[in-house]
């Protein structure tokens, strides 16, 4: 009997939680704000789903029913991707060491 692909995805999910657990504990507390903004940016990889939704079906009428939700999600996710990475970059640029 074959293993359901769902189990594989579940394994990836659970292993990633463990990876996340150890990686995040090693983040220095002074960078907790950039951590939040960058996790924000990467969770916008949900744009992948938005693109599939927007391009679904025939391209004759792209603004019908389900596609419009895809396009709206693209805007929201794009705001987050650009905003999240850029604001993180701006913050990280400010963290400087003592000038000796």
């Amino acid at each position: 009997m074959e293993i359901d692909p769902f189990i594989f995805r579940l394994s990836i999910f659970i292993l990633s939680i463990f990876v996340g657990y150890y990686v995040v504990w090693s983040v220095t507390p002074s960078l907790h704000t950039p951590l939040m903004s960058v996790t924000n940016a990467i969770s916008s990889v949900i744009i992948v789903g938005a693109i599939i939704a927007a391009l679904a079906g025939s391209s004759s009428n792209i603004f019908e029913g389900s596609n419009i939700f895809g396009f709206l999600a693209i805007i929201l996710a794009a705001v987050n991707i650009f905003g999240g990475f850029l604001v993180t970059q701006r913050m990280l640029q400010m963290y400087k060491k003592k000038k000796k």
Partner: protein, 465 residues
């Protein structure tokens, strides 16, 4: 058009790049490189999605246009936003992830064939569970973050909003979402799906309104976590590894941050989430208020004390952010350092309105990060320090947390400010902090109260130095 297997490998690569992005944040030196890994991961995910859909007609042009519209809005916000507004920005961004998850779930429900999930009215059972979970968590994240945003922005009062039966209502609504999901799986009715989304929006609002302003660090971290779980839910629906990995990373990251914040207040997660802490205590303390003598000082006294000290520890809090005093503070420290005074900064885990809030503000004012210390690193140094300069912090310095088991903040780890030879306390009035309890430190012999706005007082001190 590229094969499903090839695109799956690319999604895995982008997931790994996201892990490296978080890994980079373990030190400021590697963090910038980490951010580039994150950007690369995102780029790969988007390009691979275009290639795997393989539809480069007019739809593709529209997608690019919408992407650029959103992107330019995001970029403008990122460049314009002042650092003091970072907590509300993060809350606002969380709401967008939440809403995007809801929208993707809706379109998957309306057009399951586009995602290989079956047909309308006959969606695969597992997919239906995953997409309704993703939509519900996304909706809670969205409306909860909006409330958090309004509270942090000051559009809505930061005071907890409580009413009787609140927790029961939340419980009933939460259970009804689960019951509706069960029936949705049996009947596949649209109306059930829409009801789940609507109730979830309501739950998000109800969940956040009873939580007060100073508990926002926990709320923001929690919503961060939720946005991750919502993304993971959608990732399962779309069978997309990048989204599953990212969702799990973000979900656990937010959960760890909430845990750290709760520990910083010595409160359980449920205690914070059930809310209403500040509200009940405030009435208690005002009745038992007695007049005690305090020593009142001015900028000259403070300047004299600090100039003659050999070491000074600065304790910033939310008040510094409100008064935007970080630049004035850095100037003051520069003058002190020129006079040979050793200066360091002590940050309490829950200082400010989000994790790491104080560190970002100090970094903005060009304070080198190796002069800024966390509670555990610096707490023993207060005993050997001449002056502690408390600017805009209150509850996190209150010695009552160590001495009085009756106090609501008993057991909360605090900065041992009272051990330093003298304490300068910049504060606008004697009013209690968020926890609503009097700070014993105000009435000590070695405490000098500086009643003024944090920024004005610091500027005056700079002048008299």
């Amino acid at each position: 058009m590229i094969s499903v297997n090839l695109s799956a490998i690319f999604y895995l690569i982008s997931g790994i790049l996201f892990i490296l992005a978080l890994r980079g944040l373990s030190s400021p030196e590697t963090s910038r490189q980490g951010n580039y890994f994150g950007i690369a991961g995102m780029l790969i995910a988007i390009v691979v999605t275009f290639l795997s859909v393989g539809n480069f007609g007019t739809g593709f042009i529209y997608v690019l246009i919408f992407l650029l519209i959103g992107g330019s809005i995001g970029a403008t916000i990122a460049f314009r936003i002042p650092m003091t507004a970072m907590p509300e920005l993060v809350a606002g961004f969380h709401s967008l992830v939440g809403l995007a998850a809801v929208f993707v779930a809706i379109s998957a429900f309306l057009k399951p064939e586009a995602f290989n999930l079956g047909a309308v009215g006959n969606i695969k059972l597992a997919s239906l569970i995953e997409m309704s979970l993703g939509a519900a968590i996304g909706a809670i994240t969205f409306s909860g973050s909006i409330i958090a945003f309004l509270k942090l922005r000051g559009i809505m009062s930061g005071a907890p909003i409580t009413f009787s039966g609140q927790h029961i209502i939340n419980l009933v609504l939460g259970l009804s979402i689960i019951v509706l999901m069960f029936y949705l799986c049996k009947t596949q009715l649209d109306s059930l799906f829409w009801t789940i989304v609507a109730i979830s929006f309501l739950v998000g609002v109800l969940l956040i309104i009873p939580i007060g302003g100073a508990d926002m660090p926990v709320v923001i971290s929690m919503l961060n976590s939720y946005s991750g779980w919502a993304a993971a839910g959608i990732g399962f629906t779309l069978e997309n590894t990048a989204l599953i990995i990212t969702g799990a990373l973000v979900g656990s990251s937010g959960a760890i941050l909430s845990y750290i914040m709760c520990k910083g207040m010595n409160r359980s997660f449920f205690n914070v989430i059930l809310g209403g802490w500040g509200a009940t205590e405030q009435t208690l303390s005002s009745t038992s208020k007695e007049q005690k003598p305090v020593k009142n000082g001015n900028a000259d006294d403070a300047a004299f004390l600090m100039k003659n000290a050999s070491s000074v520890i600065i304790v910033p809090g939310y008040g510094m952010a409100v008064a935007q005093a970080q630049h004035a503070l850095r100037e003051m420290v520069d003058v002190l350092k020129k006079n040979g005074v050793k200066v360091s900064y002590a940050i309490h885990p829950v200082a400010g309105r989000m994790p790491g809030h104080m560190n970002v503000l100090l970094a903005e004012a060009n304070v080198p990060y190796d002069e800024v210390f966390e509670l555990e690193e610096i707490n023993s140094d207060f005993a050997n320090c001449d002056v502690a300069y408390v600017i805009g912090a209150n509850d996190v310095t209150n010695p009552v947390a160590k001495s009085d088991p009756q106090s609501p903040i008993y057991g909360m780890p605090i900065l041992d400010v009272e051990k330093s030879k003298s304490v300068l306390f910049v504060k606008r009035s004697l009013s209690p902090g968020y926890a609503g309890i009097d700070n014993d430190l105000f009435y000590r012999d070695n405490t000098l109260m500086l009643f003024a706005d944090a920024k004005k007082m610091t500027e005056e001190i700079v002048k008299s130095l």
